[in-house]
């Protein structure tokens, strides 16, 4: 029996779990994947870049994760929390990549903050500064902050993803932010003194 294509308008109204289920329907799999990609691609990509600290590696891992996710959907894998499942897939691949690759850190690789003459301390520049500071955090703190602030996960979800307790997840986010604040203190002081 021929299956009918589902309109994009309807795709928008489907929950993540319904969309993931549609991946088994070949006629609509691509559209369902496109919708899931639109919902989560941005956040997962941001996670890869900030956790791995290397854009090329992040692109590789992101692509591998999204395709793995698509294949899982096509194979009819049962998933309760699609966002969490995708995050776990991305995270595992990132951890594998980090384990397999000795990443050498050099400040020259990063666009460390240098105020430009045209628009000093704009939000974009501050963002770059924060991104560089993130690199200096311990892995567990950095990941917790990224999951919270970049991916918008609740403490409960962070605990599930990182396989720790909710209290620990909360503590890691808090300490990560505290360390970031300590690292950025001189810049904040300079920036905020005149606001």
């Amino acid at each position: 029996m021929k299956k009918h294509s589902i309109t994009t308008e309807r795709m928008n109204t489907y929950s993540d779990e319904e969309l993931f289920g549609i991946l088994t329907d070949a006629a609509n799999a691509e559209a369902a994947f496109a919708e899931l990609y639109r919902r989560y691609g941005h956040r997962m990509y941001a996670y890869c870049v900030r956790v791995l600290g290397d854009v090329r590696q992040a692109e590789d891992v992101f692509q591998e994760a999204m395709l793995k996710f698509f294949r899982s959907g096509q194979e009819g894998t049962q998933v309760q929390n699609v966002g969490g499942y995708l995050m776990q897939t991305v995270r595992n691949l990132c951890l594998n990549r980090k384990r397999d690759t000795k990443i050498t850190f050099s400040f020259e690789d990063y666009d460390v903050h240098v105020p430009s003459s045209s628009a000093a301390y704009e939000a974009g520049e501050l963002a770059k500064l924060v991104a560089s500071a993130l690199e200096l955090l311990d892995d567990e703190y950095r990941e917790a902050v990224i999951l919270r602030e970049y991916d918008g996960f609740s403490y409960q979800d962070i605990a599930a993803i990182t396989q720790t307790s909710e209290v620990n997840a909360r503590t890691r986010v808090f300490r990560g932010k505290q360390q970031l604040r300590a690292i950025l203190q001189p810049y904040f002081k300079d920036l905020l003194k005149h606001q």
Partner: protein
Amino acid sequence: MNYTERIYDFLDGMLDTAEEAELLRLAADNAEIRDELRHAITLQTAFKADVRALTPPPALTQRIFSHVSAQRIPSAQSQSASVHAPSGVTTNTPLTAFVSSLITAIVLLSLNNAVSNKAINNEQSPNTTQTIIAAKSAFPLAYLRIAPANHNFERRNLVSNNAVKGNLPANNEHITSIGAALENVLASTDSSAANHSDAINSASTLAFSTPDTTISTQINDDFRQNAQSEYLQREDSPQARIQEPFEPITPPEKPEESFFGRIQVHARRIVSTSLPSMDFPSNPASFLRNTAIGALWKLSDHHAIGIELSEETYLQRFRARLSEGSPMLDIVQNPSLLWGGLAYRYTFFPDKAFSPFLHSVLGGTELGANGRVMLGLTYSPDERTQFQIGVESSALLYFHQNVLYASPKLGFTYGVSLRL
């Protein structure tokens, strides 16, 4: 919870109205808390800006979707060749489908900018949606390029039907309005309680009751522009500094875990029995009897080394002559012995709340060498505290009249560790 934690909760929208009002009142009275708030808001703003900047490159998206197209299961290939045209007519010929999609995609791409500008602040046109349906079948990338224009609209839908587990979209709006509210409070120069109360009330009304982010965003933009222009006029602003000889900013240094931060002290109770078991009196012992104390220094997440000290009885059974020529006697004694040694611990899952561990100690007593191995489970309710329980096996090795003897013990242990 200290006020720093409360500030983060405030920005996350996790405080109730009374707690929020209390925090704002504190901020109005205390410059340190105000600074803390401003730092936290700046940090949040930077996070948001960084997230916005990190978008998968179009080439990467295209690559992924070309793989996805290639990976569709074979039975689907013939079905997926059918493409929905805007009118709803289905075309089955690949060539027709391609031409139809190409034309639609060109129309779509020409509409892209117009739609982006029009829909950026909310509503989408039904016609546009139809166009997207037609184009995406053959051109997923084009579909994805359109999609962000409807982002705001759809994000609200996602939040309302709990499709997104996190609360990032809600936070974005919340933080924006909180920022505006906060600045209103901080801007109140009259520090009398009545005026503070008015300022807080109006700020709360603005921040917590009004979903209209246009207003608060505008306030924030004005504030930022004013602050920025004021900043740029300063003598030591980057604008001014750029005229001076260039001085690169020194990269911040990574904060290292302190020496003492790696130390974990512990105390544990040992409940064990000698093998074979025998109820035999012992000499008086110190307070350390069956209580081990120690300290471990974390080498890495998994490995730690340290020292441990305790006192235990070891049942000794050996044969000896009291003097030359005297008969051989079977001697049994149960001395309480102080022992100490070097400890090593391997934690299997250091990041998890519950983790198995292996603990061993090699040391000695006044009578001979002493060693022990413990296999147990730790529970870490927070970063500093750790409870542990496990089974332990130990042995005392000693020589008497040139014969080597061993006194084994088996039992369990439980205790607590604290990280400095």
